[in-house]
């Protein structure tokens, strides 16, 4: 294969960024807060024109951008949606993002789209399928992408690979990078009963091109907790700790604070980004030492 470009091209400084929310655009453009980058959900810009593109162009003039797709269904047994892929390519060409990412998940079957990141059995069969899809996406986009570890609510009994092992094989076989979502690690570990620290320690650190941080919701079910990845609150202490643990292995990488539900004022997101920036600075010092 032609050899995709490096996952971050142009290179993105290992700084903190935030998700761009419609309610914050005006303030962002006026105040230009000091941030490493903004991330948007690719599908929200698949319209032809209008205020969404107008806003994104204004933000892109001042900031690096990360395009984070949620609907490509890399793990779907259905063929990839060619029109969706072409629309993604048009956005990549137009906005020249530093990062393009997607999820280790599937989103529908038989042509019906569930609007959810659905879980895959971690098998050789699934690995072959996801590798083939990532190859096709990277070829269509002319660049490498990052693939994100999912937040899990269930596990299939016939899975034969651990998730870090699955993602390491995916990165090795396709040349893709990985997006390590440490909130997803925390949520999945609680829901499936594994050790999140062991997961971080087993993760293929060299392939990590970005880290995600977010808040989650804690529910009780008959005396047991179920964590829901709702991106609706501040990043929790255990997730910050996983972030530190991950950075010790990856070195400083771009880190994003996601907040998609009950979106607070911009200042709250900037505070979260500042916390991430402080931890990144510690990691930079540790690296230099």
């Amino acid at each position: 294969m032609a050899g995709p470009r490096a996952p971050s091209d142009p290179p993105l400084a290992p700084r903190a960024g935030i998700g761009l929310k419609a309610a914050h655009v005006r303030e962002v453009v006026a105040a230009r807060p000091d941030l490493g980058f903004f991330e948007v959900h690719t599908e929200n810009y698949m319209g032809d024109g209008g205020p969404a593109h107008h806003s994104l162009e204004a933000v892109r003039r001042d900031y690096a951008l990360s395009l984070h797709g949620v609907a490509l269904s890399l793990g779907g047994a259905d063929p990839l949606d060619g029109e969706h892929l072409r629309a993604t390519r048009r956005l990549v060409d137009r906005y020249q993002p530093a990062l393009v990412s997607e999820h280790l998940a599937w989103s529908g079957a038989g042509g019906v789209y569930a609007n959810d990141l659905l879980p895959l059995p971690l098998t050789e069969e699934a690995l072959d399928l996801v590798c083939a899809h990532v190859d096709r996406v990277q070829e269509a986009l002319g660049r490498a992408i990052l693939v994100e570890n999912p937040s899990s609510y269930l596990r299939f009994t016939h899975s034969t690979l651990a998730e870090p092992e699955f993602l390491a094989a995916l990165a090795a076989r396709t040349g893709c990078g990985l997006l390590l979502d440490v909130n997803n690690v925390h949520v999945s570990a609680a829901n499936l009963g594994f050790d999140p620290v062991a997961y971080i320690d087993a993760f293929p650190a060299a392939a990590v091109g970005e880290i995600h941080l977010a808040g989650h919701h804690v529910n009780e079910f008959r005396g047991r907790q179920i964590l829901i990845d709702d991106h609706g609150s501040a990043v929790g202490a255990p997730v910050w700790n996983l972030f530190r643990r991950a950075l010790a292995r990856t070195g400083p990488v771009p880190a994003l604070v996601e907040w998609d539900t009950d979106v607070p004022p911009l200042a709250v997101l900037l505070d979260e980004a500042a916390k991430a920036e402080t931890i990144l600075a510690e990691a930079r010092r540790a690296c230099a030492a």
Binding site: E43, M46, G50, P51, D81, P121, L154, L192, I226
Partner: protein, 260 residues
């Protein structure tokens, strides 16, 4: 162990209310029943798609309330789930569904309200274009005007309703804050929905002006479109209104197809 395509088909069927047994057999319980784990995904599909529809149809929701809207949305999602991952295209069949399902029967103008909101949503995401400037029309040789084809602006949508659906729309957007009444017997309206710049605008047209724009949109030359619009048409007033609203697309600088 089910093959991946089979597993995903059963999983989707289960998310949509079908049999769960095959999927549940493949899910580890680990202290929380497999059915409860699967339910998270089933609920998430309906909840997030309902949210998406609520974003497109805020006035429908504001008018009938969150619970009734959620019931309509759930029935719609079951009957017409998304066929693409791009949710800004999801909801085009909501208005006809409200008619066909009978869910909107207690509020007969509800499906036209949904049509207006879908037109607004389409205009919001339509291709950008500066509307036809009156001066550009004025620069056309008068001899060419009868055969001139005026194209509607890419964002322009026409909606005709037997109800004052723009007033219903305003009431729905205000939600609980609306304390007036809308008289449904006040008569029907022809509405132009258009986004000449960044703001979507909804305006009433007189029926002849709406007919003129519809005939232009169908590709009829101006003299023919004007005749089609009927005897009630004041062509000068209708054109002035449509030009001021930004209802027409600009002439393509190099393509002369608007000219005879």
């Amino acid at each position: 162990m089910p093959a991946l395509p089979d597993l995903q088909h059963s999983f989707m069927a289960a998310l949509r209310g079908g049999a769960e047994d095959a999927v549940l057999a493949a899910i580890a319980g680990d202290g929380i029943p497999a059915a409860e784990r699967l339910a998270i995904h089933r609920n998430n599909m309906v909840l997030t798609l309902t949210d998406s529809l609520a974003g497109v149809f805020p006035a429908v929701r504001g008018l009938v309330g969150a619970d009734f809207f959620a019931a309509c949305a759930a029935a719609f999602i079951a009957a017409h789930p998304p066929r693409s991952g791009t949710l800004i295209r999801y909801g085009d069949r909501f208005a006809p569904f409200l008619d066909r399902s009978g869910m909107a029967a207690p509020v007969p103008c509800l499906s036209d309200l949904a049509r207006l909101e879908w037109a607004w949503h389409q205009a919001f995401h339509a291709a950008d274009a500066a509307p036809l400037a009156p001066a550009d029309l004025g620069a056309i040789d008068p001899g060419d005007l009868p055969a001139l084809v005026l194209r509607p602006h890419p964002s322009a949508r026409l909606l005709s309703s037997p109800w004052p659906v723009d007033a219903v729309w305003a009431a729905g957007l205000a939600g609980d804050a609306f304390d007036g009444t809308v008289d449904l017997d006040a008569g029907g309206v022809d509405l132009l929905v258009v986004r000449p710049a960044l703001e979507v605008e909804v305006r009433r047209l007189d029926p002849a002006a709406a007919a003129l724009l519809a005939a232009c949109a169908a590709g009829r030359p101006l003299a023919e479109a004007a005749a089609t619009a009927g005897t009630g048409l004041d062509l000068a007033a209708a054109l002035a209104g449509l030009l001021a609203a930004g209802a027409f697309a600009p002439f393509h600088p190099t393509n002369q197809e608007h000219l005879p």
